[in-house]
Amino acid sequence: MTLRHWIISGLLLLGDSHISLAEVVLGQAAPSCSLSKIGGGAEKKLDSFKGQVVYVDFWASWCGPCAQSFPFMNQLHRELSSKGLAIVGVNLDEKAADAAGFLTKTPAHFEILADVGGSCPQGFGVKAMPSSYLIDRHGVVRHIHLGFKPSETEALRKEIDALLLEAASTP
């Protein structure tokens, strides 16, 4: 009786919290998101970046690896924005003040937008923090990266370079 107790409880525990999200699949169009500036303000849709290679990074002030990724993204922005790379850091903090504090310590030279409400990460099916999605010039999701590790930056750079070389015009 007690053993069955244990097994059922264990299974319930593991099976519980199964989160079913809309998931983005490679090769599909990126979901359309409505974003705004931190602390509110004018809306900007993710579609507006079509024609550029978009690096969408979901981050928050409390996420350690996010702080590590910012200097790398700053470097990407400095070197590749003229070639058509748009980096969009989507902040998911519940309080705008937390995001502002983070940005004072770890400044971002790329565009920072916020998603109040959480529909954008839901749409993208974000599974981990941080998550980055590489969208090509036609708005198709081409690469998904979960987390940030400094040793992955070279591969990321290569992926971005390859996407930048692709033409924007519809074949």
Partner: protein, 891 residues
Amino acid sequence: MLKSLALMVRRLAAGDAAPRSASALHRFMGRQSPAPPLIPPTASESPALGALRAAALALPGLMAQSPEALAAPGDIVDLQYGSYKQTPWQLLGGLKSQYNPLQVDNIEANGVLTFSDRWKFGFNYAQDTWSGATPVSSAPYAFGGNNPSAAGASPLVRGNGTILYDKKLTAFRLDPNTANYVPDNRLVQTVASASPEIRNQGNFRLGYEWDEAAVNLGGGVSQEPDYNSAFGSLNGRMDFNQKLTSVNLGLNYANSDINALINPLYSPYVDQSYYAEKGQIDTIPNASGAPGRYLTGNRQDWTSHLSVAQVINKDLLLESGIGFTRSTGYLGNPYKAVDMVFVDTQGTPVPPVDGSTLPPLYAPQVQAVVERRPEERNQGMWDMRFVQFVEPMDASVHGGYRFFIDDWGITAHTFDIDWVQPVESWTVTPRFRYYSQNGANFYQPYFLFQGKAPQGPDGRFNLAGVPLDAYSSDYRLSAYGALSGGITVARPIGKAMAFEAGFEYYAHAGDLRLGGAGQGSWSNFDYYQFNAAVKVDLSAISTAKLSEPEDHAGHHHHSGDHRQQHLGMDAPSGILFNHMLADEGDTMVGVRYAYALQQGGMRHGTGSATDQQIVAQGCGPSLKCTFTPKEMDMGMVMVDLMYAPTDWLTLMLMPQFMSMDMHLRRLDGSPDPGGGGHAAHGANPYHATGGVGDIFMGSLFKLYEMEGHKLHFTLGFTAPTGSVNQRVDGNTEFEHYGMQLGTGTWNIWPSLTYNGYAGDFNWGGQVSTNAPLQNHNDSGFAFGTLFQTTAWGGVQIQDWLSGSVRALYTFQDSISGNYPEPFVPSGPMDTPQSYGGQYLDIGIGLNASVPSGDFEGNHFGIEWLQPAYNDYNGYQLERTGTLWASWALSF
């Protein structure tokens, strides 16, 4: 320096030829990159300097900006100090123990480093210093076991004539005032001293992190004179449900060897036959020829643990676990004994005093026996913890319960609750804990039997006749409860440092046991504990550096101000308090190492001293010296921690760790040293001491600054955290004054420092004094006042390298006071007059600092101080020189 070492090891591990394939194994093990090329020497350098430069900068990536140099979140280095002090035992009758209560000081350094993003290396070093008294057994108060007898003999007095029992086994004590026996069943601890001991422990772990799992392998050793332990551990973690659920599994094994000297004060009176028969008693003659009995044993402990942590909602985390431990072997405490008391109520009672109204009283037979515990112990526990966020206060509540049970009959409950409250930039955490256990089934305060003591054919006590398989009077196995409360405060310092301090008061009382019926108040004690730690977050340092505004060349704030800001950092390595931090919020950590060597001949004043002179005059007017030092070296590690709350004030904390050793030799023509002391070591004794030294705390004030010049004043104190109670061989004889680890006194250490630079040259000077604020320390003496003045000049050799030359004048007074009687000096190193003097040293040094790149902000220095002129007080060993080496990182 740690980071560069980490990088180097990581590069060596990665190798150059790792292919960049997408194989499953490769993905599993993380990406590996080839090492960037070495920087070739520039044309303007000499080949030798170029080679030095290339060697110094051979750590790949030093000059290039590479993200691989980032430390991962969670990479830290921390240093912690703890102090535990027990309150004195209640010995009844207004008696105060002649011994100090138990005190433990603990220092610990640990760190976690990440290589290749997924490999984690952790190391930990800890040192505990124990001193003071601990109970050897408990007994009826009537035994008088704690009364210091005139002969200084055994505390395990056998109650001769002081205690009697009636037919109902009630104890009767002889009242010294009335010379009558009164009923008194009270109990008391019998306290004996333990020699001061130092325990060192080092352990490491190596781990690998996947995205949702981790594995760690670790091991270590712990060493103290009577207990050596080696241990290993393996544990793993798996995450499920997008890391909302984590399962941890751990396994530990420890193998320990015990080799304990049974206190010679009571060894002859304690029955050791059980262990002697098992071959666990080694008899080794000690210095004076008396046999020392060592109880040896081995124990093995297997521990396993399984726990699950589950995120319940955005504000609540729960965790629960079970554990099982199996211990086998010698599980007892070699310093504990039990008193076995046999009352033969069938025998003849003691003749009563005329007119006495007392019942018939019988004289007991008492025998103290080394305690014995079962050779096996199976322990199980389960616990559960929760962490709940309290939104209105932005605080969190942590609580837990643990249930413990073992096959010795002990069950225990532990409840604890903490409230972690952020207040501005501080975090304040009050906490409570309640613990309750019931006693082991073989525990008794003492063992009372009805009947005659079992005797062997030789008429002596026969332990085998006692019908017990296990017996202990260790209060830790008794039934009691404990309530403790404490508070922790923490605060971040600068960008990447944090400071924590905590205090706790703990009360152990029989009454506090859950449900009552614990041991009586005689076994109560309290302790209080204080700890402080400084933690450096390595990933915050690297992120902060990479986030600083850069110019197009990738250099960080590299301007003419650079040298003004860092004025003083290029001062010779051997100068303490040489610079202030320039900006508000700046922090700095550093490690400085000094190695001082004395060897060669004995000196007196400015000339040499012959053995004859030392024998006749070195130990005072009436005593002849027998030994003299031959070689002495001292290693000191100082950790510098600095923080600037404003740009005119820098706060500094500097703990120190000392390690000293001395070789001695017999003096030619000296008389026979006789028994005891140094004679025990033969003709060439060797002594060593090591441990925590005094800690320095100070403030540096900027007095004057202009372009190219800076003057600052340091006001500092040292606290007597270093022991002055070091004894030779864990015995009773004091070590030589110079071998003590600290000063034992609060000292004031003010200094005035000037730094200047122009073009490629820099120079400076410092005047300082270090004076004790007390007449003498707990060991009866105080080191003499020290006065130093030094001046130096330096020149830039390259933009990253400079050299320096300096002169140092030192004056130190001799020691005042001396060790208390009955200390007998055996050589000049034992006399206060042979300390101090006047010295002039010449120093030559090099300083390197990394100007840019990932390692920007690291400074290294090295210096050799050569004695040029010495005027020694008394008779001292010649000074050969001092080597200083330092590293510092500002962030």
